[in-house]
Amino acid sequence: MIVADRKPFAEIMSMVEKYSKILVVGCGSCVTICMAGGEEEVKILASQLRIAFRKQGKNIEVQEAMALRQCDDEYMDDPVLIEKVRWADVVISMACGVGVQHATTFFNRIIEERPTRVVPALNTTFMGANLGAGEWEERCLGCGDCVLEKTGGICPITRCAKSLLNGPCGGSSNGICEVSKNTECAWHLIVERLNVLGELDRIKQVEPYKDWRPSHSGGMRKRVREDMRI
């Protein structure tokens, strides 16, 4: 899932302090699971804003709303949500960067009478796994050319600081990466996994240069499934 962190409160305040009607919209998917932009986080941010504005003596109205997925028209096309957006001077989106952009496009398409300003409340950080309560770790870089079959299901592109295809490098010490003592060496893990799988011979094969063209290096990516289009 997509993992995100909430921006510092002062930064969010600086984005919205000149408006008098503020709508905080959460997203019910990834950022709810990583506890950054779900229903509870929306209520907490709205409460913080109300406290801060009232302390300053400003009469600012803050409302709350949720969309199950801000990255999908189908889940944004909710009359109650759209009515609240019409009311607001500014919309604080507590979705990932995808959600914020899609919300901007969607609301500006649906609401024609005036432009809708959507600002982000989160910093989108990575695609990762939930390792336990309150802990997430990056697992995929979205490189567009998956190599997990060759590496025992451990991604060297994401988890190796150098994204090496032929590792480990000299910076690996007792299974720990030289970049940080909290980072496991991905190639140490790969060798151990291949050994368990009885496929250790694989590391003798020298992998050629990675084709980075399907990655973001080739610019914004787009996927069209003609068979699914109506």
Partner: protein, 138 residues
């Protein structure tokens, strides 16, 4: 000039703090009359939002009183409550309120005296901070 009398909301665990409040009553121990007690089944049930909403609604201080660590009836509710109070403290501080308006403490069931001490010190602490600025601007 009249002394400021703060309004304090106390979220009290049914199994310890509430029993301690009863014990204080039975022992005839007086404590600050500024406290409004809200009984909760476990302090682990108290969410960050409950604390913030109490302040938004004009409470001058909020205290969460649970069981001693290791003695929670539901195993780890008091640990959760302590972390949530700490988180809520940083959230209200960001928004411009003093973190001293929120407090977590613990007391065993027979601890009537300790319960009274917590409520008295919280009242003094909040009195020193002054009225909740949101109350004046409602």
């Amino acid at each position: 000039m009249n002394q400021f009398e703060p309004e304090i909301v106390a979220f009290c665990c049914h199994y310890c703090a509430l029993a301690a409040a009863d014990t204080a009553g039975k022992m005839g121990i007086q404590f600050a009359p500024n406290v409004r007690v809200i009984r909760v089944l476990c302090t682990g049930k108290v969410e960050i939002l409950h604390l913030m909403k109490a302040l938004e609604a004009g409470a001058d201080g909020v205290v969460v009183v649970g069981c001693k660590f290791g003695e929670c009836y539901f195993k780890d509710g008091n640990y959760r409550a302590q972390k949530r109070v700490q988180r809520a403290q940083s959230l209200i501080e960001e928004a411009g309120l003093e973190k001293g308006r929120l407090r977590f403490d613990f007391v065993p069931g027979p601890g009537g005296k300790k319960f009274a001490e917590i409520m008295n010190t919280m009242t003094q602490q909040v009195r020193a901070l002054g009225p909740n600025p949101l109350k004046q601007k409602q």
